[in-house]
């Protein structure tokens, strides 16, 4: 009987120290909600395949950090303990192992102490890559190595559409300020309109790191919803005649032109806006590796292994910033709303400028390619293609839309540079 009682006591003791009990105490219900949110996002990533490459690690990071006592994001600490008992002191006494490991220090009060180091959680260390602004430029390196800027070079006018779609960022900035957000937070929220996950993370980690979780989740959710959000706006702003425009085939761009492109863009952008240099520079380095054709091995590594590894670290650690106490707030709802507004405005301004180009070119430009200026490569370009084919099934807008699409990547990096230069 005594044995059974001991077993029961030990089971109770384990349960008392488990995270399970914490869920039913104090603010534990918030963690339970966040676990449900994480599971819902996992369902969207796996079941609905919404941006699964990023949503899956983000959702799992969110799940991990909200499991009570998991300690995955614990900050490293140094605990001060007494080397020997001192009357009247509340400090713990270090044991022999700790004294041997960390040594003793004599403080000015005459007592001897031991500084016991507690290491941080796994994701805390991986998160340093976000905090120090390392992962987003590395992702840009991979994106550059995967991107073909040929359509943009064949039709440089596309840069205008890439710039127009960034107006949504600045319009949303005003909205966020009017809703009471501080300037830096407003800048971080507004960048969601760039429809560029790494840029959003980069800017937020520098301007408002405490909002990284909600902003990253909003940015990637909207990017996944591009095929649902954009078409109604595109149809509403264009006529059937405009949507049916068949654009002439793009000229062939030579290899030398493609090689020179990343070098010129880097020089121009980094000279004019140095704060955009990390993002644009890495994007262009990746592209130069691809187009030069002389470093195929590292170009492949940037596109595949590096990109995949950084995506895992970035996604999981960004998800791990979405702790219940940060995520379940009124601000998160406002961020989600403002992010949607930024996305819609970016799309609308892109299409409006596409219409202007339609007018100025005498009907040679299909305004639908303007919506691709919001980045989200290549999803936004494919949406232009899809909506164009609804009106004219023999119309192939994809290559034409890829120009504004990659211009949007450069445009959002430049917009990020402006926000960082002005607000930081």
């Amino acid at each position: 009987m005594e044995i059974l009682s001991s077993i029961w006591d030990s089971i109770l003791s384990i349960l008392n120290e488990s995270g399970l009990l914490f869920l039913f105490e104090g603010d534990g219900w918030k963690n339970a909600i966040m676990i449900a949110v994480a599971c819902f996002l996992l369902y969207l990533a796996i079941g609905k395949q919404f941006e699964p490459l990023l949503l899956l690690p983000i959702a799992f990071g969110m799940l991990l950090v909200n499991l009570p006592l998991s300690g995955v994001m614990d900050v490293p600490l140094t605990e001060l303990k007494l080397a020997a008992p001192v009357s009247g002191s509340d400090l713990a006494i270090a044991d022999a192992t700790e004294i041997a490991k960390y040594g003793q220090i004599v403080m000015p009060d005459g007592n001897t102490y031991v500084e016991v180091a507690h290491s941080g959680g796994l994701l805390y260390y991986l998160y340093l890559g976000v905090k120090l602004g390392i992962y987003p430029p590395l992702i840009f390196l991979g994106i550059g190595a995967m991107s073909d800027f040929g359509p943009l070079l064949a039709n440089p006018k596309s840069f205008i559409l890439g710039a127009a779609a960034q107006i949504g960022i600045f319009a949303t900035f005003c909205g966020a300020i009017l809703l009471g957000f501080p300037a830096k937070v407003a800048g971080a929220i507004a960048i969601i309109g760039g429809a560029d996950g790494p840029t959003a993370i980069y800017v937020t980690s520098r301007l408002a790191p405490e909002y990284l979780g909600p902003i990253a989740v909003a940015a990637y959710s909207y990017m996944a919803l591009v095929p649902i959000i954009q078409p109604p706006i595109m149809r509403a702003l264009t006529t059937k005649k405009e949507r049916a425009v068949v654009m002439t085939q793009l000229r062939t761009v030579s290899k030398t032109e493609k090689i020179m492109f990343p070098i010129i863009v880097t020089i121009v952008v980094a000279l004019l806006l140095p704060s955009a240099a990390p993002l644009v520079g890495m994007l262009m380095l990746g592209n130069l590796m691809r187009e030069s054709g002389v470093v195929k091995r590292i170009s492949d590594a940037a596109q595949n292994e590096l990109m995949n590894i950084v995506t895992i670290f970035l996604g999981t650690t960004v998800g791990a910033t979405a702790r219940a106490e940060v995520f379940l707030t009124k601000e998160t709802l406002l961020i989600v709303f403002l992010g949607l507004a930024a996305f819609c405005l970016g799309t609308a301004f892109g299409v409006i400028f596409g219409k202007l180009m339609y007018v100025f070119t005498g009907g040679k430009v299909n305004p639908l390619i303007g919506s691709a200026g919001v980045s989200a490569v290549p999803m936004a370009a494919r949406v232009s293609q899809k909506v164009g084919q609804e009106t004219n099934p023999s119309n192939y807008l994809l290559m034409h839309a890829l120009g504004p699409n990659v211009a949007g990547v450069i445009g959002s990096a430049v917009a990020a540079g402006v926000l960082l230069a002005v607000l930081r």
Binding site: V268, Q389, V414, A421, V422
Partner: protein
């Protein structure tokens, strides 16, 4: 110009929301457009210059080839040689092998019916004058979602 704004964050200039919104929105849009428009000009000029150089090179090559061809014609005229007759073509211009391949492709539909190739007609695509193969490839690669 931008750096002069930096110390102003949180000071009197930016305590006014209207001023903050106006300054950041205007400077942001102006800078983004200015840089991208500058890139448009650079790449237009660069593309034009590059095309001019390429075309000049091609013209040179074409002239050289033309000169070489005319010299060769002269030689051939002097000593006419028996040229090998081209292989006979089936169905007008299309070689028999191609028709065999087309027939095999049709037969591979695998719906149990027997097919016979009676005529092979070149089809035209409505939009950009692409070949059926190009159209098919485009369709495969651009079919959204």
């Amino acid at each position: 110009m931008l750096t002069s704004f930096t110390p102003s964050v949180g000071t009197e200039l930016f305590d006014n929301k209207g001023m903050l919104m106006a300054v950041i929105t205007a400077s942001g849009i102006v800078v983004v457009f200015a840089i991208l428009i500058l890139l448009i000009f650079i790449f237009y000029a660069y593309g034009a210059a590059f095309r001019a150089v390429t075309e000049a090179g091609e013209r040179k090559k074409a002239k050289a080839a033309e000169a070489a061809a005319s010299a060769q014609t002269a030689v051939i005229t002097e000593t006419p040689a028996a040229t090998e007759a081209p292989a006979p073509l089936a169905d007008g211009e299309i070689p028999g092998e191609i028709i065999a391949v087309i027939a095999a492709a049709v037969a591979s539909l695998g719906d149990g019916k027997a097919y016979r190739v009676k005529k092979v007609v070149r089809s035209r695509t409505p939009a950009a004058g692409r070949t059926p193969w190009a159209t098919s490839g485009l369709f495969e690669n651009t079919r959204p979602f």
